[in-house]
């Protein structure tokens, strides 16, 4: 390399740093430092005024040994994920298979299915709060047509999780579309080869479609898991975490501890535990995925 080329390369590198520097500064200010601060504050007792009081691992010990609300919020979140993620995978994937046919009107149907997934937030929670109304809600009305007696969706600590799962499934069109994109990216010659080998519909699904879309499935699972640990608005608006802490999601617990009780140190410990849960879960899912995710000759990702 001549010295001129070297200086050109150096110039390019310097320019590169300049261009990504806004991101780097943002990453340090709004992700890295807050994350470290969370870890550090987790080791203190502090109500937000004065100086934090260092208490070592006391918060964590208390969380795991003497805090039923911590376990309850963890339980609610994990149960929700355990019900919602498999159902949304099966329905989303099944819908994608159905949509992946060249039939008239499919584009319109796809649009209809996709629409609810982009509607989120407070207004949707308010609407669903009314849909789930025990006496005047449309869901119990529909069940009544099938001679099923009214279900106390949001008034029962048993039914509240199924209710929130149903509400979340309203947005299944989002994952449907992602799966559809994955399915359509499968090379058609694989299906032709499978057909030549006498493979039927099921065998093609099991041996071609699912392995080829497994990276997409994995991706959706991980994002869904992380998403579950972020669920806040629905529970905050519709149930406030009740009844009897039946929908007390992990995020709601952090919110209450930090911003209602002002136990900043303790809430930071909860946040740290959340971070560790996400890291461990993702690591486990990725490790586990090695046995079933198939990357077709893609070494770079």
């Amino acid at each position: 390399m001549t010295s001129q080329q070297l200086s050109l390369a150096r110039q390019e590198a310097r320019a590169g740093y300049r261009w990504v520097s806004p991101w780097l500064i943002g990453f340090i200010l709004f992700t890295a430092l807050p994350l470290l601060a969370s870890f550090a504050l987790g080791l203190t007792r502090w109500n937000g005024v004065g100086t934090p009081h260092f208490v070592g691992l006391d918060n964590f010990i208390h969380l795991f040994t003497a805090d039923p609300l911590f376990w309850q919020s963890l339980k609610v979140t994990v149960i929700f994920a355990a019900i919602y993620l498999p159902i949304s995978l099966v329905i989303g994937f099944g819908l994608a298979l159905l949509m992946n046919q060249r039939l008239p009107g499919m584009a319109l149907l796809r649009t209809i299915y996709f629409l609810p997934s982009i509607l989120t937030g407070v207004a949707v929670a308010v609407v669903w709060g009314f849909i789930f109304d025990k006496n005047y809600g449309v869901l119990n009305w529909a069940l009544g047509l099938l001679h099923i007696s009214p279900v106390p969706w949001l008034q029962s600590s048993f039914w509240v999780i199924p209710a929130l799962v149903i509400m979340q499934l309203w947005g299944v069109g989002g994952s449907m579309l992602i799966y559809l994109a994955g399915i359509q990216a499968v090379p058609t010659d694989l299906y032709e080869a499978a057909t030549l080998d006498g493979a039927g519909w099921w065998s093609k699904l099991r041996n071609v479609t699912i392995p080829m879309t497994s990276p997409t499935i994995l991706f959706n699972l991980v994002l869904g898991l992380i998403g579950t640990f972020q669920i806040f608005t629905q529970a905050y608006i519709m149930t406030g975490g009740g009844p009897n802490y039946g929908s007390y999601f992990y995020a709601l617990n952090i919110y209450d501890t930090a911003f209602q009780s002002l136990r900043i140190g303790y809430a930071s410990a909860e946040a740290t535990v959340l971070f560790l849960i996400i890291v461990i879960c993702s690591a486990v899912v990725f490790r586990w995925s090695r046995s079933w995710v198939y990357y077709a000759g893609r070494g770079d990702r």
Binding site: M99, T111, L196, A258
Partner: protein, 298 residues
Amino acid sequence: MDTSTVSSRVRLRPAAANRPRRTGRRRIGKATATYVVLLAGAVVLIVPLLWTVSTSLKDQSQVFTYPVQWIPRPFKWSNYSSAFGTAPIGTYLVNTVILTSIGVVASLIGSSIAGYGFARFRFRGRQAMFAVMLATMMVPTWTVIIPMFLMFQRIGWLDTYLPLVVPAFFATPFNTFLIRQFFLTVPYEIDEAARADGATRWQVFTRIMIPIARPALLIVAIYSFFYYWNEFLLPLLYLQTDKFFPISVGVANFASAQQQNYPLMMAIATVALAPPVIVFFVFQRWFVQGVVVTGIKA
């Protein structure tokens, strides 16, 4: 999968010779079953929206009648004016439009600069930085929200829009990823030709690359629009004065104050949901494009 062309080959092979041939009737049967399932699902998905609009036009007494009356009689349009009279919904809407506009512009500026940087320049640590950026997509808001709140409190940014929009100027990972993927598909020769003509890097970026990247930028703008329009937690935390509230916080307060007044609640919900629905239908092609490009939903 395309069964029609595949099955025509089946007949040629002895291995599959005894499999039932897909006749026209079978194909029609399959299509019918598909339509039945998908249409039933579509009805289920649409009902909540119809129910919302229908209730928003009902008299309070009609809400509590069974069986459900889907067509309000009479149409009580005054629910909307009552809702606007009960809470400063107009103000909330204006606030949301301001907040969303700044947020969208901030996301576009921050993410396109960083996306161009990651796509176009070779420098040491680029791969590592890019990997870190992708990894931060997995960091939950909840693990950083407490220190962020304390930081914004210290510097006196509470009760302003600054904590909501300033971080977007520093590039959001998802949008940066999307724009970077787009720039990777643009031939490098375009940059080189412009540079040879004496353009600075900044000129290449603003005059050539930004116009080329319009499709990607539009997708980012749409996603950011939805993010800012729907966002609830951060405004709830950072804003304290009613006259600054966006529609999300406004609806939340309205709903808790008007517990049983379903027609008014559904009216304000309809008002809050209408803009996203309209944007969705106007830009739905781009939306789908975004999902396909990135494999990620908003």
